[in-house]
C-alpha cells in the first residue's frame, strides 16, 4: 500500500469503537431538537404570502408546490418525531433517513423566500451522512435491544470512523467557503478597509430591534470607535476561516482552530446580531477527540 493510500485509509477508515459515533448521533439530534426544533415552529413556513415564493434548487427542478398549513403540520410533526427517534437510537436507520429527507424539505423551504438562514444548511447534510452511517451501533435503544437478543455489542471498525471524519470535513468547508467567498468578492480589501467595522455599524440599523435587546451592541459600540482593532479582527477572522481545513489533519491546528471557531460564532451572534448557532451546536461534539483515541485529529490512534 502506497504512503498516500495508507494515509487515505488511516484518515477515513482507521478502526474506531462504535460508541463515539453513537454519542455524536445522540448529541447532534438531541441538541438539535432541544435547542432549536422545540423552540422554532417550522409550521409557520406554510404562512409565507404566495407572492414571495421564488423556487430555487431542487424546489425549482422538481416544481415542488408550497405546502398547505395542514400538510406542513404533518411534515413538521413527522420531522420532529424522526429527530427524537434518531436521538434515542430507536429504528435508527429509518429515523435518520426520514429526518434527512424531511429536513431537506422543511428547513430548505425558507430558501425559496429570498432570505436564508445560512447556518441551517449543514443540518440536513449531517443528517444525510448519519443516515448512511452505522450510527445506531452504540448508545442507542436499537443497540440495547440487539445486545439483549443476540448478545452482540458491536465491533470496532472503520465504519465508525468515516462518518465522523466526513462530518468534520463538511464542517470545515462551511468556514473555508466563507473565507474564500470574501477573497472572491472583496479580495484583500476585506481586511485592508473598514469593512468589518462597517458591517458592525450597518447591522445596528438592519437588526435594530435585535441589537437593542442584547448587550452585544455595547461591545460593538466599543469596537466601532477602534477601527484599527476592527481591522486586526478582520485579519484574524479571514485567517481562521481559510485555515480551518488544517484542523482535519493537525492536532495543534485542531486545538487552536476549533475553540477559535466557537468563539468566532459567539462573536457573530453578539456583534452582528446573528441567530445563535443552536441548530448545529451539537456538531462540536464531533470534534471531541474520542474517536481518535483521545489525541485529536492527527494524533496516534489507540483502540
Amino acid at each position: 500500500m502506497s504512503a498516500l493510500a495508507a494515509a487515505w485509509h488511516a484518515f477515513w477508515f482507521a478502526p474506531a469503537v462504535p460508541w463515539p459515533l453513537g454519542f455524536c448521533r445522540a448529541g447532534f439530534f438531541g441538541s438539535f431538537y432541544v435547542l432549536f426544533l422545540s423552540r422554532t415552529n417550522l409550521r409557520w413556513y406554510a404562512l409565507f404570502p404566495p407572492g414571495f415564493y421564488q423556487p430555487r434548487s431542487f424546489f425549482a427542478w422538481l416544481s415542488l408546490p408550497t405546502p398547505s398549513w395542514e400538510v406542513m403540520g404533518w411534515l413538521v410533526t413527522a420531522f420532529e418525531i424522526s429527530v427524537i427517534l434518531a436521538a434515542l437510537g430507536l429504528l435508527t436507520r429509518l429515523a435518520t433517513l426520514t429526518a434527512f429527507a424531511l429536513g431537506l424539505y422543511v428547513l430548505g423551504l425558507q430558501f425559496n423566500y429570498g432570505y436564508l438562514h445560512w447556518a441551517h444548511a449543514i443540518v440536513p447534510i449531517v443528517m444525510g451522512i448519519l443516515a448512511l452511517a452505522p450510527c445506531g451501533d452504540a448508545l442507542s435503544l436499537d443497540a440495547l435491544f440487539r445486545r439483549v437478543v443476540t448478545g452482540n455489542a458491536g465491533e470496532a471498525g472503520g465504519q465508525h470512523r468515516w462518518p465522523i471524519q466526513l462530518v468534520r470535513l463538511v464542517f470545515v468547508t462551511v468556514f473555508l467557503a466563507a473565507g474564500l467567498a470574501k477573497l472572491r468578492q472583496a479580495g484583500l480589501e476585506w481586511v485592508l478597509s473598514d469593512t468589518l467595522r462597517n458591517y458592525f455599524l450597518e447591522n445596528q440599523y438592519v437588526f435594530r430591534s435585535e441589537g437593542a435587546t442584547t448587550w452585544g451592541h455595547l461591545l460593538a459600540d466599543w469596537l466601532i470607535v477602534r477601527p484599527g482593532l476592527c481591522r486586526v479582527f478582520a485579519v484574524v477572522v479571514l485567517a481562521v476561516e481559510l485555515s480551518t481545513p488544517a484542523a482535519l489533519f493537525s492536532r495543534h491546528a485542531w486545538r487552536l482552530l476549533i475553540p477559535l471557531l466557537f468563539l468566532f460564532q459567539v462573536g457573530n451572534a453578539l456583534l452582528l446580531y446573528q441567530d445563535f448557532f443552536f441548530a448545529y451546536l451539537g456538531l462540536y461534539l464531533f470534534w471531541i477527540p474520542w474517536v481518535d483515541g483521545g489525541r485529536g485529529p492527527g494524533g496516534k490512534i489507540r483502540i
Partner: protein, 172 residues
C-alpha cells in the same frame, strides 16, 4: 469473508461498508468542497457568502415597511407578529430579491406586498395579532451615514417612497 473484506490493523471492513462510505463522500463531502472552492448554491450546499462584499464606507442603504390605516394611522411593520413567518430584516431582504427598488420590474415585489397586506388583514380579523386595520402598505428606501449605536436611526439622511400597494376593495 475473504474478498468481501478489507483488513486494516486487524479490523475488517466489509466491501458494502466501504461502498456506502464512498457514496456518502460523493453525495455530501464532494459537493460541500466544490461549493466552498468554486462558489455557487444548490441547497443545502452553499458558498456562505454572507458579509463577503467589501464595505469601505459607513453609508447605510436599507428599507422601511410602513402600513397606513383608513383613518391616517401609521404603523412600522417591524413587529414579527404582524409579518409571520418573516423576521423584519428577512422580509426586507426578500423584497430586495423581488426588485422592490424597481431597477427592472417591480411587479413581483408589488404582488408580494399585496399578499403581505392581505395576510396581515386576514390574521388581524382572525384575532392572531392586535395591530390596527390597514388599507395600504408602503416601502421606503432609507439612507443614513452610520453612527455608533444607530444614534441617528430616527433621522435618516434621506427617505424615499418606492412602492405603495392598497388593499383590494373586496377586502375592505
Amino acid at each position: 469473508m475473504g474478498r468481501y473484506t478489507v483488513k486494516y490493523d486487524g479490523h475488517t471492513l466489509r466491501r458494502r461498508q466501504r461502498l456506502v462510505a464512498y457514496v456518502a463522500m460523493l453525495a455530501f463531502g464532494l459537493p460541500s468542497v466544490l461549493a466552498a472552492l468554486v462558489g455557487g448554491e444548490a441547497w443545502p450546499f452553499l458558498d456562505y457568502r454572507m458579509y463577503a462584499e467589501s464595505k469601505p464606507t459607513a453609508e447605510i442603504d436599507w428599507l422601511e415597511l410602513v402600513g397606513r390605516g383608513p383613518n391616517g394611522t401609521t404603523l412600522r411593520l417591524d413587529n414579527e407578529a404582524y409579518i409571520v413567518p418573516f423576521a423584519y430584516s428577512e422580509l426586507l431582504r426578500s423584497l430586495y430579491t423581488l426588485d422592490v427598488l424597481g431597477e427592472s420590474d417591480p411587479t413581483p415585489a408589488r404582488r408580494a406586498l399585496a399578499g403581505l397586506l392581505d395576510a396581515y388583514e386576514t390574521q388581524r380579523r382572525l384575532g392572531e395579532h392586535d395591530g390596527p386595520p390597514l388599507d395600504r402598505i408602503e416601502v421606503y428606501r432609507v439612507r443614513w451615514t452610520a453612527q455608533p449605536g444607530a444614534a441617528n436611526y430616527d433621522s435618516p439622511d434621506s427617505r424615499t417612497r418606492l412602492q405603495s400597494v392598497s388593499l383590494p376593495a373586496t377586502m375592505r
